[in-house]
Symmetry: C2
Subunit: 236 residues, 2 copies
């Protein structure tokens, strides 16, 4: 995200961001989180990720445990299912407002994730910055529409492939073999995003690897080794 | 959405909205669409729904037809699957920006849906209105996070029940038997939203009806007759 507060800073957006982070330090509105530590985000506050990355998660307030769809091979779980909803990386804002019937929550996805927070009305001091925040949410909204498109696909392998494509399109970094998702995701987390199970994701990831559509780096990061090929594949 | 452009209009937001609609009429920036007619929305333009309702849809640019997950009972479809992504009702803005690997599209969901459009820079004339548009997208983004939470549920019946709950929570109107979704949705459209099929949705809707969790009005609208009960049910 780019920030600009006056004409001098407009050409150097880093200055405004840094000024707001400094403001956060001065006003004790910053905190560093350990990997997988929950950020106690509250409605009405705006959060800025200065370092690291945030993982957004939605948890059903409690499972509808009595449903029996007559076909599921697994018993309903007593634990609330947490769904992975995406990343917010450094330089981006997030907020947690909507709740029912799910609790949205934010976790530090990597160690030493630094978050600064403020009230929305603090933004009155930085009107151009507020616009940048709005623009970021506008962008995030459009990305979520694409996610929903992916999750509407009927076949699990299509949901999985489209989900990975969207993640790497948004967060991917160039690597030796194409583009690489810089964040670790467990198969259970992927399953929680696409409405599937860890076991199924493991099986289908194996299939995608054998087809050469994805590869896994030594550090377990997911890559799309033939990015262009994958795109062409879909354009067939 | 509430609009306010100056202090006099701030207390009567309808005035600003009406003024912008009038501006649209004057500048030939309005059009009335038939039910299921596509709105030819382009990136960079902002659309306001003045009457009726818009249905957002995501279509895979083309299906990944060669995948075989080894368990699907249905053959891969040659037709691109369109996923239902939600409604935009009167008084709300929408836009279509993001594309790859899905085409987002907008359709009139009801007959005589009226849409006014403008360039984003036209909003320079109405800074407060622009803020309201941003606030609406901020809200829509939060709602989509809830949708993603619903679609991450592993069991189809839970995805279905949470999906319907979210829709009725957002758009529901009081009726004799609780709250009613004022828009028709086919079982195929519901299936396209929750990653399932028309056949499965029909079967599971029957189950939810027999359990008394939903009811269907004579005009085929979906109701939650025991809204509070449904909520309590989840809070068990």
């Amino acid at each position: 995200m780019h920030f600009s507060e006056n004409s001098a800073e407009a050409s150097r957006p880093f200055l405004t961001w840094q000024r707001i982070i400094d403001w956060g330090h001065t006003h004790y509105r910053d905190r560093i989180f350990r990997k997988d530590e929950r950020v106690p985000a509250r409605p009405g506050l705006l959060y800025l990720v200065n370092k690291g990355a945030i993982r957004l998660v939605g948890a059903a307030q409690s499972s509808i445990v009595n449903f029996d769809d007559g076909e599921s091979s697994e018993p309903p779980s007593d634990l609330p299912e947490e769904a992975f909803l995406g990343f917010v990386d450094a330089g981006q804002p997030f907020e947690i407002v909507a709740q029912s019937p799910f609790n949205l929550q934010a976790y530090a996805h990597v160690d030493r994730t630094e978050v600064v927070w403020m009230y929305w009305h603090d933004l009155d001091n930085w009107p151009h910055f507020r616009k940048e925040v709005y623009e970021s949410f506008r962008y995030q909204h459009q990305r979520k529409l694409l996610w929903l498109s992916a999750l509407g696909q009927r076949r699990t392998i299509e949901r999985l492939m489209n989900f990975l494509t969207l993640l790497i399109e948004e967060y991917g970094e160039p690597c030796e073999n194409g583009y690489c998702l810089p964040y670790l995701l467990t198969h259970a987390q992927i399953g929680s995003a696409i409405g599937s199970t860890r076991v199924t994701v493991t099986r289908l990831m194996g299939k995608l690897r054998r087809q050469g559509l994805i590869s896994i780096q030594e550090d377990n990061l997911i890559c799309m080794p033939h990015w262009e090929t994958a795109k062409n594949y879909k354009e067939k």
